[in-house]
Symmetry: C2
């Protein structure tokens, strides 16, 4: 039943809206712009002060995307559009090598620091320019998005090229991250790609996530980070690795795809996997969701395995509230509320704004920064927006008054 | 004064001897040999059971070195020699590519998994075969050690080759790890290298460690993990990184070199740096030495920065007791005793033997394995042996009865 939850849905909806629009976005708009060279600072300390000026292409692109998306979906605030465009200009001027591949890191002025070894830089660039095109209708933005997308497809079988340290042939493995991101990316780029490419990529993405990387025999059904080239469980460090936050993020991507094609069976599968992963990944002693787990319970090589990360909890909340919105499943609601309490009690910084990124197992702040090499203007605003908008949609579905 | 410490020196000496010979070495002799394919399993769980069969060249080489060194220095136990030789045979058969560079990882049967991108594999191989030659006098072992050493020298300016992701020219940096290991490696290989090479490498190594990477203006004097190509502090993530355990390990390497050439001034410098780093790296709240620190106190990108690692504490104890042995400095003794209490109360596993490798900030076991991808039969036995033999030498110096 949704109707008995309306008071809480309204309360949460207001909280997530306010956190997004009155705390998190203003934090980035105020502290991140580099007025001198363009682009964004993301290494911001607790107070928002810049402690390092390097520019990581993942985070530059993700901030362009966030600003453009919220401009389109929430309100046409010219400050957001200007900031998105100045970040995009910095990326256009400095982000790519001669072959159009996106560097991983640049220095403050835009000189390349780290080579284009990482295909996710390209994924986030395509996402950024595709979204930016929606608000600028600038053909250059569209062309960068489309060209980058086709670059990704052409590199997908050997994304690291000569930077790969894997000896070919001994133990061919494939990784979950790229097919998962492609599922999301094609939806982002749907309006600028031909429909055959979109449909084929979605079909393959859902197949990879739900039939190849999902392994029903492992721990009652989990999605593995890596499987052997023939789609089997590999009893190796890489093969045993489970990343609950990554799975939950993938499950809301799949819910979005399933909703788009009215596939209730697929929604049910994604919801069932989400519930199972939430049970499995929850720390019974200290609360929160573990960062990494081993499929056979063996010792992990990831020393950060027991830490509680901001993005994991946001992705989990998004999966839970989307599942509840789509099916009305009471368990999804209960998980959403449980995650909400954990996240709101641990991650936001009431004094200086935004969310902490890294807590230790006990939920104490491990690293007080608000941004760095991997945390920028992306997961928090995207997650808050997804939660808020899903709560609004749930309320509207219930037929009660608008929020 | 050494004489008033003789009772404790005797007690500690016995403890470290027993831990080495009755606990740690038997653990590896029993659990690590791969009877089927040769080489060693290092991914051993708390009880010593194998949880992963991959073979990491660093750890294969380090175990050969440990067994050969202890065979030579402690007792000619044929079981140790046989085990060293079987590990070396596995490495001879499978460890190198066609150009003689050492792979990073092999599968159980010896097939290469990870390319030779990591020059420290070569360093540990040279160390292993050089030490093995001391006990076998097999010219093949000598040749592998010498050839590998010259390979390292020829690759030292571009150790990662085409696997490097650093864009050339934007921000050239140099790293502390290689010059530091070379300081130790030339002493290991002294008998098989020409003396000009040995002396030149030592001179350069001491210069690099004590004059280039040691930066007196930073935090009262620290050795940085990375400096700019012209030897300056770089206010970047890499440039700000401090690894206290690494510095303390380097300081006992330098003490060994200084003792060899009777350089009391250099001993004094290494001791002063050690004392300062111990003060700086000690966790005042929970005890133990941090894994990483930032030179300007900025947030670290290393999520494991506050963890307490086994090797850090062993290297710290070795530096403290060697300093005390060389100078009689009361502060070095006090640090040794403090580190001894922390380490002995937290790392050894009285039930199943050996030491845990990874504790959280509070000193609780974070990963219960006894070995893995980075921990094998090396730091614990080497550290216990260094501590024990230094305690014995200190006692003998004091002129009291032999231990």
């Amino acid at each position: 039943m949704i109707s008995d939850k309306i008071p809480l849905i309204k309360e949460f909806s207001k909280l997530y809206r306010n956190q997004l629009l009155e705390d998190v976005l203003p934090f980035w708009v105020k502290h991140s712009p580099d007025q001198k060279y363009g682009g964004y600072f993301t290494s911001l300390d607790r107070k928002g002060q810049v402690y390092d000026t390097d520019k990581f292409v993942w985070l530059q692109c993700r901030q362009v995307w966030t600003l453009a998306r919220l401009y389109q979906d929430i309100k046409a605030d010219p400050e957001w559009a200007d900031l998105a465009i100045q970040g995009a200009e910095f990326l256009q001027n400095h982000g790519r090598d001669a072959e159009g591949r996106w560097y991983f890191a640049l220095d403050r002025s835009g000189q390349p620091l780290i080579q284009p070894y990482n295909i996710f830089s390209d994924c986030f660039a395509a996402m950024a320019f595709g979204q930016l095109y929606q608000i600028t209708r600038d053909e250059t933005h569209k062309r960068i998005a489309v060209d980058t997308f086709h670059q990704i497809l052409s590199r997908r079988d050997n994304p690291k090229g000569h930077y790969s340290k894997v000896y070919p042939g001994t133990r061919p493995m494939k990784s979950f991250a790229l097919p998962m991101i492609l599922c999301n990316l094609v939806l982002e780029l749907e309006s600028v790609l031909d429909s055959d490419t979109v449909e084929a990529t979605i079909r393959d993405g859902i197949h990879q996530v739900m039939e190849v990387f999902y392994q029903p025999e492992i721990l009652g059904g989990v999605i593995l980070e890596n499987v052997s080239a023939d789609g089997k469980f590999s009893n190796t460090y890489e093969g045993r690795l489970i990343n609950p936050g990554h799975i939950l993020e993938a499950m809301w991507f799949v819910m979005d795809l399933a909703k788009r094609q009215n596939d209730t069976s697929l929604i049910g599968q994604a919801e069932a996997i989400s519930l199972h992963i939430l049970e499995l990944g929850w720390d019974q002693e200290f609360g929160g969701i573990y960062y990494f787990m081993d499929a056979l319970g063996h010792p992990l090589q990831q020393l950060e395995w027991d830490q509680k990360l901001w993005w994991v909890h946001l992705e989990a909340m998004v999966a839970a509230i989307k599942g509840f919105n789509l099916t009305g499943n009471q368990k999804m609601w209960e998980w959403f509320v449980k995650l909400h309490h954990y996240a709101q009690n641990h991650f936001p910084d009431p004094e200086f704004g935004e969310w902490y990124g890294y807590l230790n197992r006990r939920g104490e702040v491990l690293i007080p920064a608000k941004g760095g090499k991997w945390k920028g203007c992306f997961h928090v605003p995207r997650g808050l927006y997804q939660i808020w908008s899903t709560l609004v949609a749930t309320n509207e579905k219930s037929g009660t008054s608008k929020l």
